[in-house]
């Protein structure tokens, strides 16, 4: 099953099992079913609980927060993750702060889904990965879809946490299959929110990457193993922030080289925060500073040959690990 279909089925199941769940977004209703068809069939099935909205990203995130405060659970789809900037106030100043700023715990069960990333030729305002702008916001969780994680379980986990979350979904990942078991070279294991992808136990190299990089990270891992004879374990967290590395502490403890890859642009990134956290834990055991792989400090151009230069490629990951 492809990731897009898995997400769609997860939303169907979620809304079927929990009548308090409402979904809002631009063009999410049938027959259109959302720009990436993730919400297909939902409005036909769940009627007024699914609302196609005006072009008002800030407004609809606020409406979602209002529903969440009043006792419902809300999922808001923003058509392109880049447009989350239009909802920054509602997310940062209202939904996230409301969980604590009233002096007691206030639940805001709100998920803002953000189709994200380049490699589809949509150009500078429809391709960026904005994760880093949401890292370290008090009260806000940051998730990213991966082909290993069950989206329905993640949605339920977020709602049960009472904290609002941004949920990034890589747009190319939509077209890729969900993954389990292994790929012949590596085994795929999911534990406590992390996917552990490895050819053998206790590898010297460990790569951490969000779910959207999975295809490129796996391609790099295969080349490293078959051509460079380097075994590298890939760790994919579903929740990017706050990051809890406890479930993969054993994998990290065995590592001598750690690498972090992400699609965000260089400077003030998620990966830098991960490196800070891991340097504190692993300092003294590593044989080199943590390597960071990101997109360059650049907008994402439209033309394919230019876009390729400004997005992380498998060769970038392989080069960073084997040098």
């Amino acid at each position: 099953m492809r990731v897009a279909e898995h997400l769609n089925r997860s939303l169907h199941t979620l809304m079927e099992n929990d009548p308090s769940v409402h979904l809002l977004g631009e063009d999410v209703s049938d027959p259109y079913g959302g720009a990436f068809k993730i919400t297909k069939g939902l409005s036909d099935r769940f009627g007024p609980r699914v609302m196609s909205t005006p072009l008002s990203e800030g407004g609809i995130v606020g409406v979602g927060a209002g529903l969440a405060l009043a006792g419902d659970r809300a999922i808001v789809e923003i058509m392109f993750g880049d447009f989350a900037t239009l909802a920054f106030d509602q997310l940062v100043n209202f939904a996230a702060k409301s969980t604590t700023m009233y002096g007691r715990r206030v639940d805001v069960p709100l998920i803002v889904r953000l189709p994200t990333g380049g490699r589809r030729g949509y150009g500078p305002t429809h391709s960026q990965s904005l994760q880093k702008h949401f890292i370290g916001v008090p009260g806000l969780s940051v998730y990213e879809m991966s082909p290993f994680h069950d989206a329905g379980r993640l949605f339920t986990e977020i709602f049960d946490s009472g904290r609002p979350a941004v949920f990034f979904e890589d747009k190319v990942l939509y077209t890729k299959p969900m993954l389990s078991g292994g790929d012949g070279l590596h085994t795929f294991e999911v534990r406590d929110g992390w996917a552990v992808i490895r050819a053998e136990r206790d590898t010297e190299h460990v790569l951490l990457a969000p779910g959207g990089l999975t295809d490129r990270a796996l391609a790099a891992l295969r080349d490293l193993l078959l051509e460079d004879e380097i075994a590298c374990t890939l760790l994919v967290p579903a929740r990017l922030h706050p990051l809890d590395v406890t479930p993969v502490a054993d994998v990290l403890a065995a590592a001598r080289r750690v690498h972090v890859a992400e699609d965000g642009t260089a400077g003030g990134t998620w990966g830098a925060e991960v490196a800070r956290l891991l340097h504190e834990r692993l300092w003294g055991r590593l044989t080199a500073p943590i390597t960071h792989i990101s997109a360059p400090d650049s907008i994402i151009p439209t033309a394919a040959h230019l876009e390729a230069r400004c997005t992380v490629q498998p060769a970038d990951i392989r080069r960073a690990i084997n040098t």
Binding site: G59, A65, G66, A70, G71, G103
Partner: protein
């Protein structure tokens, strides 16, 4: 431009309404006094001159209704809840505070009352809450904003959605003619009525300092929002008799005199001097005692 508020004779006022208006007045004056004495932390925005509006509004709301308030929200709270000690404890960070002193003056969440300090931010949230009310049929959302708030895009996104989706949302605009230091004519093109008309949202405006007149004008609108499950905007013309926050008034002497002349308090003391004097003595003493009581409490705790 809304003309100056002129009232020849006020209608007789109930003791309950006048008491509450005076309580809010003395609560706000006490806060400004505490600031002058260096006994309050941070900032505050008093509603001097506007107290009659929330007193008029609150009588028309039910406990099921949600109220969204803004930075200038003490009157909104005190008109709805008989809990001045808890609000003062919140503002001063003392035991018994509404939100343990975390939210302070402009971030209050108590029962079905919520305030936040970013202009216009609450309106889309209020639409979400109103949609739930529409579904459950048990109340409406009422959001207070000022004339300055109409510069925010979120106001228009909210009005559009509220009208499209039939959200029972009452927006109460306290049009005090000034946004911090900027006169309304320098920050608002056209009119609030015209902007509402653009969305097909029902709008009423009242120019009166008479609490009964304000309530009488608002009552059919509240009924409309409740019964028809539609949004409506109620614009009350008021004068901001005090500074934006504390000691930051740059208005000229003539402008301040005009604001003072448009203050409900001046009108009520003129028309009902004995009634005001008697109740004012009670409320002043009550607030003074509350200040003494709250400031003697231990500091609030937040875990």
């Amino acid at each position: 431009m809304i003309g100056a508020v002129r009232e020849r004779t006020l209608t007789p006022v109930s003791e309950a309404d006048l008491s509450r208006m005076l309580r809010i007045r003395h609560f706000e004056k006490a806060l400004l006094r505490l600031f002058e004495q260096g006994r309050l932390n941070g900032t505050t925005h008093t509603c001097l001159g506007q107290e009659h509006v929330p007193v008029a509004v609150s009588a028309l709301l039910s406990p099921d209704d949600h109220v969204f308030s803004n930075h200038r929200g003490h009157g909104h709270f005190l008109a709805r809840y008989d809990e001045p000690h808890a609000l003062l404890a919140e503002i001063t960070g003392r035991e018994g505070a509404l939100c343990n002193g975390v939210g302070g003056s402009q971030h209050i969440y108590h029962e079905r009352f919520l305030s936040t300090g970013v202009q216009g931010e609450s309106l889309p949230v209020a639409v979400g809450v109103a949609l739930r009310h529409r579904r459950t049929g048990d109340g409406i959302a009422c959001a207070y904003i000022g004339d300055g708030t109409w510069g925010e895009g979120s106001v228009y996104e909210a009005l559009n959605m509220a009208q499209l989706w039939g959200a029972p949302l009452l927006v109460v605009v306290e049009h005090n003619r000034i946004a911090q230091s900027t006169p309304t004519e320098a920050q608002l093109a056209g009119s609030i009525a015209g902007r509402c008309a653009g969305f097909g949202v029902r709008h009423e405006r009242v120019e009166s300092v008479d609490v009964n007149v304000v309530r009488g004008a608002l009552a059919p609108l509240v009924e409309y929002v409740r019964r028809e499950k539609r949004p409506a905007v109620f614009e009350a013309s008021v004068h901001r008799a005090g500074p934006h926050s504390k000691g930051d008034d740059t208005r000229t002497a003539a402008e301040l005199a005009e604001a003072a002349a448009g203050d409900w308090y001046a009108h009520y003391t003129r028309d009902f001097p004995a009634q005001v004097a008697a109740l004012e003595e009670i409320e002043r003493a009550f607030v003074d005692a509350a200040v003494e009581n709250v400031l003697a409490r231990p500091l609030s705790e937040w875990s």
